[in-house]
């Protein structure tokens, strides 16, 4: 049976690597609102394209504003939480307010073909990679 002994420096190196990767990563680093802003984002890759998914429960489509310029996407909007005037509050955890977040993706995107979908409190942005930014394969002659 193969046994591996723990290397005391492994964890340290791993931590350092993660930190470096985070610092040198182009992801959302230079944007005006980096990590920690609302709404929280997950960024995925689907083939050549980028998919940005975010959770926006309780925000109506009409209250969302999405703009694309260059490779920066701005997601802005507002959320209201309403109780009736006569209601007595027992528990209050949901937050309301305005938000405005801009993210810059490190690839060129085709702004004309960006698609936004909002369903069940999930906003998904499909950002197709610009044709001129795609890698060309060159056959060796």
């Amino acid at each position: 049976m193969a046994m591996s002994y723990p290397d005391p420096f492994h964890a340290l190196f791993q931590f350092q690597q993660a930190l470096d990767a985070f610092r040198t990563s182009g992801w959302l680093g230079s944007g005006p609102s980096g990590s920690g802003a609302y709404p929280p984002l997950n960024v995925f890759r689907k083939g050549d394209d980028i998919v940005v998914i975010t959770e926006v429960p309780g925000i109506r489509k009409a209250d969302l504003e999405i703009q694309v310029k260059g490779n920066t996407i701005r997601i802005a909007g507002g959320k209201t939480v309403q109780y009736g005037d006569t209601a007595a509050l027992h528990r209050r955890e949901r937050l309301a307010g305005r938000f405005d977040r801009a993210i810059t993706v490190p690839v060129e995107i085709d702004a004309d073909h960006v698609k936004a979908e909002c369903r069940d409190g999930i906003l998904a942005l499909y950002l197709p990679r610009a044709e001129r930014d795609k890698p060309k394969s060159i056959t060796v002659g």
Partner: protein
């Protein structure tokens, strides 16, 4: 006032359960508002990403339990590049007091927000008595 307030990210709270699950999925506690009016108790829960058919609301032994499941198949062909939040099912339960009419509970799901309206039982509705 509260109108211009900026929205903050709320860290998702993972469920700490006494019972163990047989499937290795994550469960989160949905953020919930509860308020009471003269004739009903309203429970509002945020369950983003849950579809109508994946939602289960039941009452057993005066415990109202909401189970909301995420369809992970949507994430299958996506390769994560950068993540700020985790995705998982939602579950939360509340013990109801006996002044709720358990036959009259209505549920509505809009934009990832579940609203449960629990009508109060007849005898629990405050009655105004006119004084002569």
């Amino acid at each position: 006032m509260a109108r211009s307030q900026a929205l903050e990210v709320q860290e998702k709270k993972e469920l700490v359960s006494k019972e163990e699950k047989t499937v290795p999925a994550r469960y989160y506690v949905p953020t919930t508002d509860i308020f009471e009016t003269d004739d009903a108790l309203t429970v509002v829960m945020e369950i983003p990403g849950v579809e109508r058919q994946a939602l289960e609301v039941n009452i057993e032994n005066d415990v109202l339990r909401v189970d909301a499941r995420i369809d992970f198949s949507k994430y299958e062909e996506l390769e994560p590049l950068y993540t700020e939040y985790n995705v998982g099912h939602f579950t939360r339960s509340f013990t109801l007091s006996n002044n709720i009419d358990q036959q009259q509970i209505s549920a509505q799901l809009d934009d990832g927000v579940l609203t449960l309206t629990l009508k109060k039982a007849k005898e629990a509705v405050p009655r105004r008595i006119a004084i002569n």
